[in-house]
Amino acid sequence: MDVNTDLAMWSNQLIISAMIVYAFAMIFYAFDLFGSRELKASQTAVGSTARPSSVRRTNRKTASTAVLDRPGDDDSAAPAPSTRKNRRRGARIGTSLLVLAVLLHAAAVLTRALSVARVPWGNMMEYVLTATTITVIVYLVVLIKKDVRYLGTFVSGGVLLCLGLAITVFYTPAAKLIPALDSYWIAIHVPIAILSTALLYISAILAVFQILKSVHETKDPKWLRFMHRLPASTDLERTSYTIAAVGFITWTFTLIAGAIWAEVAWSRYWGWDSKEIWTFVVWVIYAAYLHARATRGWGPTKVAVLNLIGIASVIFNFTVVNVYFNGLHSYSGLD
């Protein structure tokens, strides 16, 4: 049924290439995050791993992404006291590599979509493929507004892990949609679900940093030294909250659109199918999170823990519910 297998193969190749670049991005970001207690040391570390010629190349790339970095630098000037010009080369290279990787990654999504002439989220592999792209894009968009490059390690690392799963555990050959998914609602419900997942994931990493940072601020243990240049935990909390709030709205939309689609497909808008249950559970947890933030007696760390429970339920909804629970939503594409 006219599936272009060449394009599908190209897509797989592009995924692998993107993964390689993500791996490098992660390493550079990790150098930036963990290895820069002594500024000079980090510079030599980067310098020694890269050959002279490649240094020149990355410099050029840095220049092209300077637009991305600049506003962030302004911003970080406030919380982090000393942002010297040459600092954070690891982060810059990381961001450049991430941009390169996401281009390859987006190309992989595009070729996959073209190979089957439909939206690229018909099964779990494709869902992961698209969700990870959107996660990186959300990260880069946030980066324009705020210097959140300390997240880079976990964005590239998380995406790398997910892509690895996508091409192994979740791997599904390119094919057309099954009738149950063949509806314009898939183009409304699923991309917003994907966007929500991406937003909530980034919010959750911020919540982890927030918790660590507040430990750093109060007890300052040695193993958290690397956190000294991160924004204050209140700042991290606010960013995490803002992103989660957007994520909550998009999740609410996902839930409503899903209910409308369910009416069209199954004659009722809500039937407590296992996927519906978990979408509801996720929604209620994040509603609780937003409430907790406004409730006296719930400190920021406790609230952040709710955020983490939220992301855990999102991940559970996607993995365990899709694969092991039987219900009407059996679209994993796995057997």
Binding site: M1, K176, T252, I256, R268, V281, V284, H291
Partner: protein, 543 residues
Amino acid sequence: MEGKTEGAEKKPAKSGAKATVTQPQLGFLGMCRWAWTQLTTMRVALILLLVLALAAIPGSLLPQRIQDPGRVNKFLENNGAWGRFLDAIQMFDVYSSVWFSAIYLLLMVSLVGCIIPRTKQHWKAMRSAPPKAPRRLRRMPGYASFASAQGEAESREIADQAFLDSAEARLKKSGYRINRQADHVAAERGYLRETGNLVFHIALLMATLTMAIGSLFGYEGQRILVEGETFTNSLVSYDSFEPGSYYDADNLPAFRLKLDSFTSTFDDQAAGNQFGQPRSFDANVTTTVDGKNEKHTLKVNEPVRVNGVGVYLTGNGYAPEVTVRDAQGNIVQSGPQVFIPDGGDPGYTSEGVIKVPDSAGTQMGFVGVFLPTATQNQDGELVSSFAELRNPYLVMSGYTGDLGLDSGVPQSVYSLDAENMTEMSDESGNPLIIQLAEGETQKLPGGGSVTFDGVKKYIAVDISQDPTQALMLISAILVLAGLGLSLFIPRRRVWVRIKDGDAEVAALARGEDPMVERAVADLVRGLRDPEPDDDGEESDAER
């Protein structure tokens, strides 16, 4: 908003303390009041939300009667006392259970108790002027002070008032409501934030109520339709029918629906686990309302809506046409017989029975499987390797005796109770196996024969009516709209004060608002506009 929250938190704490001290005199009414104040605090709402999330989970781990009563029964059979215990605490009916209902009802009560006072308060706030400036503005989250340029004019007083005029105009233009005082302007914006929040919470209440009401006034039924059959919307035509408590089943909207033909295609190109997956299910149907015929294509995601009733394609399968003759050659049974596909098998291996009550003497029954594309697997067994009709094959065993149709016990048409029947056997005494390709006939041991004439397709449809759907949609849209306003409209107060040319600008966010400082900076820049050197001020404002 945060301030209000705090207020709500303080009250119960106080009355809680009182309750412990003066417990004996509290009385029933006092207890109720105490419970009410507790219930309407944010803390309790939060706990209830978390408990609701937790309580919803078991329904995804255990089979539920609303979805699949068959799986519940199987679970009960396999789990003995443990199963009975779970059943006793309504673990198979989680969403209609007492405990689940209690949680969301408490939440709803809490919600009402939260909405009413907040609505009153908000109503008042909207109709009263923004509060005057506090004495000390310096401690506000956004603050700037500077010397007004107009200070050099002949009269300080006139210059100050002109400055306040310009501040008032500016704030008005950015959507602030103004309270002009002698020495300052008090302004507030973002009332829509609280409005949105209230709309959101009220819409949630609406949605929950709608859901409850919808199940009372609607109905849902199922029906299987073989190609060529016509469904007439009346009670007797349903295979199953579940009306809501207040549904008047005598007044089903009148219409007819005929299945003209059904086409399904399956993937014979794709690799791996995608091979054999369904790609299209199209049912061509004709609806008749008031004598008017209309043709539709009914698909999985495209229900046909007639007279306020929705018809949804939920399943499909094959109905082999089988003719049974008795020893005299008389036709005792003929026509399509619905076989149910095994849900897990992409090859659509289907099971079914044929009951022949009218044969002379004893009754006959056949049980078997239908294979759309019969193939031998490695072990030499017959299996169906593909869901389309490429090599249709019928494999059955036969029984004679009493079908039990007159016993008064209702029977499924899809299963055979062989308790009072004996299995047919071939000449050598082994159980008879009837194997038929399309068009073939096989003789039966006691005379008579079975013929596999051909295959028709059938569809399973859900037919349902829910008069509250539109209301639900409206609630959902309000939920979303209210949420958007409540999370993204910044609500803040701004004060501009001037005394003898010394100007102060301050802002206070109410709820989340990362832009307070920016708002002050912008306003200061605007107010100092007449001055030529713009650069130095920004840093001034930032502080």
